[in-house]
Symmetry: none
Subunit: 183 residues, 4 copies
């Protein structure tokens, strides 16, 4: 519901009704609306983190094909999460979060990005390329844009197109083409 209508657009009684409990019951578990939305945020974020990072590890080597394999895996996991939990994903990408997220929630944010950042660092940065933080922002944004466009009906994604999109994104971050270079 928060993903649909935003924090202010969602009323507590509505939430309670959807949860099939009395309004008062909600307040036995969450001190206030903000506490509730933070819990929802954390829950979603934790599941996203699991989906992305559990058992992922770092790229096994600096070699381009290892790196690509690693990236592809990440991309597939992202796709899986967005597909399985479209509402959670959409909610996590909302903007006005900042207004009500508490310290704990903000902390969590970093625990998702951090590992990606470190892994990205391991891959050799392209000579003429963009810094790793920029690349992460671009790739993440590209993925979000893809999902959003699909949600808004501007396009439809199936497995194949998701792969193609992954290929395109890999091109953004791939180290100088070794094959070309090696020659």
């Amino acid at each position: 519901m928060f993903a649909d209508r935003g924090f202010h657009g969602t009323s507590v009684p509505e939430v309670a009704e959807a949860a099939k409990v009395g309004t008062g019951t909600l307040y036995r578990y969450f001190a206030h609306k903000e506490a509730l939305v933070n819990e929802v945020y954390r829950d979603a974020k934790l599941r996203l983190r699991s989906a992305l990072l559990d058992g992922l590890g770092a790229p096994t080597s600096y070699r381009a094909d290892d790196a690509e394999r690693w990236f592809r895996e990440l991309w597939r996991r992202l796709g899986g999460f967005a597909n399985r939990e479209p509402d959670a994903f959409r909610f996590l990408e909302m903007q006005d979060h900042v207004a009500y997220l508490d310290a704990e929630s903000r902390q969590l944010e970093l625990s998702v990005i951090g590992p990606l950042f470190l892994a990205g660092k391991l891959l050799r940065e392209r000579a003429a390329g963009a810094p790793i933080d920029v690349l992460i922002a671009l790739v993440w944004g590209a993925f979000v844009g893809l999902i959003k466009a699909s949600r808004l009906g501007y396009l439809a994604i199936d497995e194949a197109r998701l792969e193609q999109a992954g290929t395109a994104c890999w091109r953004m971050i791939a180290p100088e083409h070794p094959r070309t270079r090696a020659r």
Copy 2:
């Protein structure tokens, strides 16, 4: 204000005060809050469209360097708009729009994407590449992700990094790698 607090988080009297008019006056110009937010949306979207498309034209040829030049120009314009009107840009990228945008506003959406789509079509699609709609979504999303990351303090963008980001994005959509092709 809508960008900051969202539609439901922004009260009409607040808006009126910020506009230095009486609350009633607002209602002489906008039938209701929804009408107001739609007007704001259209206004922002029109300015975005101008900033992006006015005098842009289509790529002058299918050749990769022409295409790239065209893309670079677009990217620069995007950057300029996001820089000049950060609130407008942020507002346009909010998610919960869907709930209150009317037909006219949604119509406008297409008038921005449409031309990009057509222009994109002109560029030869890569053999193994993603379809044009996917690429547009990716690039647009990448740009939004970049701005958002910057707004949230995850990175800082200056002209140089924006260029680098543009380069990375171009790699996503560039026709067959020239070097490869040259082979």
Copy 3:
């Protein structure tokens, strides 16, 4: 708690917690909040009655010094009660009782005043003096005023000042001034 926050300002769960029982348990002993407050009232009133009247008896004679001794004793007992059970005393003097006291509680009120009234009757009323009910109200009010002023920090009472206050009050109700009479 009722003395501190008033009937409406005190919540049943708060009371239960302070009593170290479950909320539900309270309702096994008191039909509702009103029944509880009435019980509290009666309990306090009964203890006040005991403190004032147990073994007090009536003045032993109409003679002024006997009457005064009787009054002094009463005054001392009042002081003792207010001192030992400040909350009970304060609670009993609250005003908004009327709204929720039941018949039994109101009945009890009379059992405290009644004996005082009768005893007062026994003392010859002064020719120019006020009727006994007025005098009782005045003295009672004077005592309450003293305690309240002390509670609010307007003055501090010790044993000596309480005695002085008793002397002043006795002057209100004393039969014809002995000295004058002696004339």
Copy 4:
């Protein structure tokens, strides 16, 4: 209404309805319920102060008859106020005020008691008598007790009985009987 049901027992919509305005209107004039009750308190207290002190002055001399005249006047004024504005008087004497009165309101309290205290000081304190603050508390309390007893139906006061009560109270605070002494 506050006098009847106490602060917590009085609901804002009830007040609004009694005032024949919408609930929201009340909030245009009072920031919250506490602000409202403070305003009510101040309003009542100011009227009480006027009724008691306006044009009263201090006793014209230390002589007992001047002092008594002064006290009688005060007593009559008190009676007049309690009679004219029974609700205001009752409200002012409630106990749980302390919980919600703000600094300004508490300030006002002193502006009523202060002058009485000063005037009382001017009257010679009896050798064996109680200090002035105790006497004020007693007299004030006696008056309140009288009114309360009347309100609760324990007695009925008319002009004559009010005078008698005044006489009794004067006895509490009168300096040593000059006539008796002079002899």
